[in-house]
Each structure stands twice: as C-alpha cells, then as structure tokens.
Symmetry: D5
Subunit: 147 residues, 10 copies
C-alpha cells in the first residue's frame, strides 16, 4: 500500500465510472488543474478533501491517509519524456527556456519564477483554423538577495 | 563561422551596448518573445528582419545569411537543465505534465498541443505579496486521425 | 488493470489464436498500420472500434474502456533501441536526420513535418535481388510563424 | 584537417554562395537525398564526384581526398535529438517502431529492413489543408537464416 | 505469458535436467551457436524446431507459439554490460572497432559487415600456455550505393 | 602535443600520401590488424617500430616517443556507437553476448576469454551471393580460481 | 568573451595575487559565501560591486558588464560530481534527502525549502578529535497552495 | 523479506497509526534526524533500539534483525532527483558546491568534510515574511596526507 | 527460480540464523573473500562446495544447481554506486586510476592487471588513531603482445 | 592557464625527458603512488615540493602556484572507464564491492573505509606463471555514530 497504489486505484475507478476530471474538481470546489494534479499524486489534500476524493472514486479507507501525505513528486525520472503530448512541453522548455531566462532577468533582475507559489489554467479557444489550447501560468518572482 | 557564432556575437554586443530585448523587438515590430528566441538561435528571420538585427547589433555581413538559415534548435541536450530558472520550467513539466495530458485529452480527445503553431507572452503582474511572472501560451490542437 | 495489461492480453490472444494484423485491420476497416499501432497501445479507438477489438481478441469488458483512453505513448524510453529491426530506423534518423532537415527547410522554409497529422503505409516490393520493404510516409508541414 | 572540417566548409560555402542542395545534386547527376547526405559527411564520393563537389563549393585540394574516405557516420550520439524537426522522426520510431516490427515480421518473417541497401525520396504534396511532406523509403529485406 | 517467460522456463529446465547446449543443438540438427541464441530469445524457430525444443525442455504448449514469434532482441539496454565475460567483447569493440572500420573500408570500400546475414562458430584450441577460445565470424559485406 | 595529436597526424598523412594499412603493416612486418590498432592509438610500439612509423608517415620527432607510451585506450566512451559499421559489432555483442557466455562456460567452466592475450584476423571471402567479411578471433581462456 | 572567461580570469588572478576569498568579501562588505559564489559565476553583482571586483582582480572593462548579467548557473551537468569534496555533499542529499523531506513536511506541511530565498554560512569548529566544518543553512519555507 | 520491506512496513504503520517522527525519536532518546534516517533505511540500529522501533510500529520479529544490518544506502541512483523538495538540495550542491570547495580549502587546506562523522539538525525559525527552514550541519574535516 | 533468488535466500537465512561470513568460509575451507563473493552471486561453486552452502543456509535442492552455474556477474549497472561504502572504492578508481595506469605501465610495460587471475584479502589493523581497513590485492600482469 | 595545463605540461616533459615516476618520487622523498597522483592533478603539493616538481620538469613559474592549489579531482566523469587497465579496477568494484561491504560491516560494524585518510602501495611480485601486480591499500575505518 502506497501513494502509487492510490493513484492507480483512482485511474481505474475513473475509467470504470466514466468520470471527468472537471466533474471531480467541481465537487471539491477547486480548479480542475490542481485537483487533477493531486489525484495523480503530485499534490496533498486536506482531511475533508481526501474524504470527498475517496467517496467519489470509492476508495478504501487507507487511501484517505495517503491522500493527506505529501507524495514523492515528479514524473520525469530521466531526460526527455516519450509521450508526444508531454514531450511538446519539454520541447518548449528546450526551445524557449533561454528566452524565458533572458526576459525574466530583463524585467525582474536575477531570480526565478516560483514553481511552488504557482497556479495555472488550461482552456479551449475556438479558432476557425483549428481550436487552440490556451494555458496561462502565474508564478511568484523570487529574487536572489545578497547577504 | 556558424549560427552559434552569430548568437555569441549578439550576446556580446547586447552586453557591450546595454541593449534590452524589448527595445530590439520594438524596432523589428514583433513580440519580444519571438525576437529573443530568434536572436538566441531558435527561430529564422527573413531578409529584412535579418538586416535590421545586423544593424542593431553591428554584426558582420555573413551573419545576415546565418540569421535566415533555419538553425539547429533546442538547448536541452540531455535531461534536466542545471540553471535554476530554466529548471523550474522543467519541474513544471515533471509535476504537471501528466495533468496537462489528462486535461487536454478530456477536452479535445487524443492529440497534442502544437509547439510549432504556438505563441506565448510573458508579462509582470504587480502583487503586494511580491510581483508575479505571468506566462500565457497558445498552441493549436492537433488531433490524431485514423487512416 | 491498465492499458499495458490490455496490450499484453492482445499480444497473447493474437499468438494463441494465430491472428494476423492485416486480418484485424480488415475487420475494423482501417489501415493495418494504424490498427496495429492502436493495438500496441499507441493510438486511441472509438467506442465501436474498441468493441470490435474486444470481440476479435476475446478481451474482458474493462479493456473496452482502456482502448478508448489516450495511452501514454512512445516505446523509446532512453536512447537507442536494442532490437535490430527497430534500431535500423533509429540509425536512419541518425544518418539521414540532418539531410531531412536540410531538404525540408530548402523546400518549405523553417518548420517541421508533423508526426501527428501523419500517415504511413508499408508494402512489399518484389525484387530479383531480394524483396524490398517499402514505406511511404506523409506528414503535414507545420511552419514556424512570427508573432 | 578532417572530414568534419570539410563538412563545415561546405555549409559555409553553401550559405555564402546561396546554393541549393537540389542544384548541387543536379550537377552531380544523383538524387538530392544521397548528395545532401554525402555533403553532410554521411556518404562517400568517388573521385569524379569529389572533384565536382570541390569545384561547386570552392573547396581546397585536401577536401577531395576526405570526400573519398568513408566517414564516421551518425549524428545521434546519445538518445533523443533536441532539434524539433529531427525529433519528430525520432518520435515516429518511438511511436511506430514496434508497429513496423510487427508488420515486417508478419509479411517477411524474422529479419530486418536494411539501412544500407536503402534509398529514399522526399517530395512536396500540395494540399488545400496545408502542403504535406512525403517521404518514401525502400530497403532490402534481410532474413535471419539458420546455420 | 511472454517470450521472456519461455526463456526463463528453458533456463530453469536446462539447469534442472542437466542439459548441455551442444546436446540440444545436436538434436535439432543445427549449430550450437544458433540454437543457443534462439533458446535465449534472440532467434525464431520454425514449427518443427519449436516442437522439438518444447519436448527437450518439457515446455507447455503456449511456448511452442512464442518460439515461432520473432522476439524483441538484444540484451544491452544501455551502455557497457556488467558481466566480465560479456564486457570483454564490448571492450574488443571499443578497442578494435575503429580498426575493423578502417580495414573493412580498405578492403571493400564504404559499407558494413552484416549482422543479419551472419554466422559464427566457437571452438576450443588446445595450447600448452593455456587453452584458447577461438571464434570465427562471417558476415556478408553490404555496400552503400549511390542513387 | 599528445597521443591524440599523433593519431590525427597519422590519419592526415595516410590520406595525403594515399597509403594503405596493409602496406604499413608489411613494412613493419606485423599483422595489419595490430598495426592499424596501434596507429589508431590503441597499442604501444617499441622503439624500432615507432621509428619506422614516423618515417612512413613523415611524423615529427616527438611522435616517436608518444608511439612508445601506452595510450589511454577505448573509443566507446558511453553506450552504443553511432557509426553503422561499428554499431553492427556492438549489436553482435547485444544479440550474441549471452550465447557466447553460455557456450564458453559450457566448454571451459567459469572464466572469460581474454581481450589482452588476444589476436584477430580479418579477410575477404569470395561468394557469388556477395563477398563476405571473415573475422577470426583467438583469446586465451582465463579461469576464475578459488583461493 | 563570456561569463566563463570572467570566472577563469578571476581564478587566475586570485592564484597569481595570492588573494583569499574572505579578503575579497571583506572589501565588498558581504559574506564570503555569497561573494565566492558570485565570483565563481553563480550570482549577479550590482554596478558598484562589479567595479570593486574588477579592481581587486585587475579585470578588463568588459568583465564589469558580465558580472552584472545573470549567469547560467549550476555546475552539476549530469549526475554525481567526481570531486571527492563536492561528492560528499551529493552523498548527503542521497542519504539524508528523504529524511529532510519527511521532517520538513512533518513540521511545515507540503512545500519546499527555497534555494533562492536562501543564505548559508561556513565556519570552523575547534575539536580535540579533529576540527569540524560547520555549515548553517536558512531557506524560506514555500507552501504549495490550493487554487 | 529485505530491508526495503522493513522500510515500507514502517511507512505504512506510521501513516496508519498517525505517528510523528519526532515522537519516535523522543521514545528512542536520539535526534529526530538520525532516527528518521534510520527508519528510512539509511542507518543501523543496535539491538535495543531495533526492539523499540519494532514495538512502536508493530513490526514482525524478522524486522528486528534487518534493522541491525547495515543497509544499502543512498536514494539517488542516477543524477538529479525528481521530487521538488529534494531537488532544491541537489540544486544547492550544484550552485554552491564549488563555493564550499573553495572555502573549505581556504580554511582547512586540501581535504574534505566527512559525510560519515557527521550530524545535522533541522529547525523552524519564525519570520514575519514567512517562516524559515534552518539546517545546521557539522562534519569532521579529513585532510589528505602525504605518504 | 534463478541465481538471484538463491542469493536472496542466502541473505535471509544468514540474517535469520545470525551467521558470519568468516564462519561460512571456515566450514568450506576457503578464504572469506572468495566465499562471500560466491554467496553473493559473483563466483561459481563446485558440487561439493555447493552442497555445503545449501546445508549451512538450509537452501532447497534447486539452489545446489544454481550455485554451480556461472552467474551473471557485476553489481554496477550504470555509473557510480549510491552506497557510501562502495562509492569510496569507486572514488579510489576515479582519483587513483590514472596513477595505477602510469605505475603499472612504468613497471611492466603495456598491459593490464588481471581481474580474473586475482585474489584479495581484507584485514583489520589496530591503530591508536582509529583502526584501519587493510586490503591487499594480487592480480597477474597480462601484457599486450604484437602479432 | 589552469591545473589541467600544468598536468599536460608535466606529461609532455616526462615523455620528452624520459623521466620515470619513481625517480621523481625519490627526489621529492615521498612514495611513487602519492607523487604520481599529485603530478596527475589529484593531490596538492606544499611550497617546497611544488618548487622541486617545477625544477624536475622545467615548468614555468605559474605552475608552482597551481601545484599548491587543491585541484578538482576525479577522472571518472560518468560511468565505466573505457581504458582496459582502468576498467579492470572498476570491474573489481562491480564484482567485489558488495563483498567488501559485507566483510567490512562484519568486522567493524556500520561505517566506511576512508578514501581520504588512505594510502596505497604498488609492487611487482615475481611468479614463474607470470609476474603479478600487488596492491596494498590501507584506509581508516570511519563509523557512523548516533546523535
């Protein structure tokens, strides 16, 4: 029994029950982005949220505790991801990473965009040439300070 | 003489002349995101743009041709980047990649968000708890089709 | 229970029942290339196709749902593949990749050949010096655009 | 002085003289695919061809000898290529490699498609939804034999 | 059930029954080199051979089908093998690989020695300073051709 | 000045003077396999041999000393080699390595074939279906002993 | 000319002039930890600090600009560092990393210790059994927040 | 049954019983840092400590022996860790590793800080701008000596 | 059932029965170094030795055959080992490997120290400043010979 | 100018002057093992020793300072070394590493053999079956202690 088992059980129940992530998020009352990440073992739920997740997916009691335990995060163990959809985001970091570095330093000075004090939203934009995936990200700027 | 030399000469001239990327972009009349990526050897300029770049940075004649040649792109040769700012974006792919995969498939079906028919914009958001880096991305959805 | 289990069950049933991929494709009414890729966990079937696949291979009910779920794609987790047949294709990318890059840029300008809006066909060509494997690929050209 | 230097000199001269690969191939009287691969250090020219290459690009005498020496081939030293165009071909091997293996074995039995006794052709297909890159490959089937 | 299971069952039965590879090869009527490679999941047997293998090792019925299915070949997933005996062969490629390349090109021109149209034989040579392992390999030369 | 420079100078002189490896070996009075490996920086010459090598290739005085210094050997720094000819030998280790292990242990018991007390010979075999590369290797068997 | 050149020039001048890092830090008026990291190309100086650094080490004018440009940071390009002193810190992350994760989560909940809003101090502790290296680190806790 | 099983059972029992690491450490009478590392399979307990651990977590008898057996330590099998919290410590080694090397050599001469004769303590510092994680490390300096 | 299972059973029995390696070696009548390596799956026992090992550890019958089968050796699948004790030996190869190469070549000429015709002994040396681990190794020198 | 340049100059002078490492060590009055390691950039000399090294090899003044600066140590940047002589030592760690771990823990308890408080000696042992390389190592045992 581990958090990986909880994630696997959620994915199986989601397929078996035909649930959508946005429906789960609506019941929890949070964004679909954060709730999906949490269900996939990347975020930590509080006691009430964990109870609702267990109810929605029909999970056993022990999963309620695992969902409240900070998980071992990250899915890129080594290098480039093989899945084409995930790879495109890796490619964006590869092609645009140095550009983001230059522009953030130009605007803010030396520091980084936080990946912890961070939120994002994904939406669909209708377009006659083919609909588009829009993603907006917002992360706090953290400056390096002298000491 | 190669495109890497052109990039190096641009960075040296930018430092020596105290230029800002947004000023370069303004002169070219395009977004700062695309122009910076192009100057860093990730995009291809047309003849007129290449001429302006050469003038702004005081580049030799041969660079005008290199700037019009599609470069070998990408800066992540293997695995995780060491620079903390760029790593945070890699971490976002690691932590949120599977979430993006789930949500795009839920909304659009099987396919990917294009990293080619793509644009992005970076801006600063004032915030009393510390200013934030906002990034909005837009990529065309490309479906897998049966045949 | 996961998509990997479904793939394994298909391969076992195919061996046990002595089925050929082209026969499966004929029953579904699509190309053998796409159907084989789908059965191997690289493409997503719709409800009707998934039902036919389950019937042909005698799969349990849950596999019908998994076959309709976009899978985690890609089989090259790191570097060069060890299987000699698959390696030859990797070697073609290694030997001819830069040539393809030069020729596509020469003909189309900066951009890529899509691996999503893509189809391919494999056929046998009789040849007195030894029969040949012919593969024709067709992918949409996607240009980088300024913004 | 090495074959890598020859390749670099060819690329610089091609940019400086504004030559196209198909023009070079036309003068040599061979396919643009093979000639481009040869100029990029992946194939070996005979004495006459090497002389023509030197003349077209204005190369020094020693390059004529290097062009006739079998080069150290291959451009993928480790794992996935970073350039988006070349990566798409790597992804095709990743996504379709096991499909190609299954279909070749189904049609021909155990063996491989040769990457040496091999030719390919790249062409443009007009399409109202966006032009397509067409690539046709032909490689001799080589069976494993018992002994 | 998979080809890996078949290989494991063969190794267990070989140990339990005290069989030698050359005895298995004698019964099949082929070389010990090819038969051992086949039993270890690197070659494909025909129906009659597969039946004999199953009888010799007491394998279940399904293994007869797997033995006739081209396996996923190769045992070096990444880099250097850890086993000292296998590593010595890897070291020979490391130390003598460029020599073999020079000498084959000198004798045959540009091309390769086939690893598919290939056979080898291992034998013992008595020597008062310590017996020697003799290995003779024979592979068809495959030339690169212009097109 | 280092052994790598010596190797580079030998390769340049060999190309410029149109020498063949077997001619160099004939002059030294040793096998072409050993002499080529030595010239490529994998073996150590004695004083007389080093002098002859310097004369044949017209090398400067300091190379005579480097040729007598045991070099840092091996050309496979990490994993699989990209050159198709060298890769075929790597593939043979991958496909046949476990077979060689089984057969050597069956014949000799636990131990290895030495890659140091080792010699090899490469020759051409005429064959109406295409000439073949024949390679014979001989290495002393070294047993593990208890102590 | 690049930041790496600046770092190299600093190291050469430090050796040639016999300077100590704590002396440099004292002149700048900041901690030796931050100043050393900055001189080694990991932090960014302001105009006044950069001027002092140039004076102390006798650097050319262009280095004053590079010292004010955020550098590409990080010195562990891949995996474990080879230097024994640096490796010990890597080993501490390997042995104690999961412990730090457990204890930080126990005390603070889900989140991380910032490596940006961070400071550290290194000092010597006299000890009759052998002096000790004491390092104290302080990083802001950054919680993951729901959204 | 192995030490990994013991660690897993401890983690499951800790979650099920709602225990805190500092409570476990208090009962053992040692620091929370060392006890947590030991429970996670990085340190070795003596007989009495092992008995107490078994009692606290309700472990079976065999775990008492495993807890007294020096474990295979280290959790970073290759390169950078994916978990964001643990990665931050890896980044500190990447960014500050060469600084620590310089400062330790400046203060102590050539040698290392021991990661064995080592202790550390983690505590919370209240801060109006956000609480901080404080970590103090102490390791014996080990000099290289001539011989 | 495989040699890995045998090793695991030995380790479990050793822990459960409280056996010491030197006691096992004494009963077999060989060195503790060789016997421990053999029990850990790195050496091959003869029939009599295998019988004694099975009796000492209470192993099932099939293990007697596995212990007589040359195992797949080596425990460093890729790169540096994570365990601190084993890493120190890897570090010694990293720091002293080129020194050993220089000194062996200086004394013996070109060749290697055999890792097969090899023995070693580990002992404790009392020392008032802390006891020392003494390891003496002896390997036959194998010269490269011309041919 | 860096420590790597110093090492290169030492190796060139040693070859040009025909010096032996043991002669250098005799002049310095220390062991050949430590002096060779120091000359190869793995140890740090004091002022007097550095002066003698410079005199023996005829090095320029700046090398005297570099020889007194603790170098970046270690020569195995990633994984297995390619040189056969050095690889044999890597293989010994691979084959015997877990044995050394078991025996050191059995004799000393949990801890490591220091690679810093360490010395070694290499000597030749005459043997009618072929001379042997003898290496004796001595490292202080460092225990893990509770805190």
């Amino acid at each position: 029994m581990s958090r990986e088992d909880t994630t696997r059980r959620i994915l199986e129940a989601k397929t078996a029950r035909g649930l959508k992530w946005f429906q789960v998020a609506d019941k929890i009352g949070l964004s679909k982005e954060w709730v999906t990440a949490g269900c996939l073992g990347q975020m930590t739920f509080d006691a009430e949220q964990a109870g609702m997740i267990c109810e929605i997916f029909g999970l056993p009691e022990e999963d309620r505790l695992w969902l409240q335990t900070p998980p071992h995060k990250g899915s890129l163990s080594t290098g480039a991801p093989s899945d084409p959809l995930i790879y495109r985001f890796y490619e964006l970091v590869s092609v645009y990473g140095i550009t983001l570095k230059e522009l953030i330093h130009e605007e803010f000075g030396d520091g980084i965009m936080s990946a912890i004090d961070f939120k994002m939203e994904l939406s669909r934009e209708s377009d006659p040439h083919g609909d588009r995936v829009n993603i907006s990200m917002s992360g706090k700027f953290l400056p390096y300070k002298t000491y």
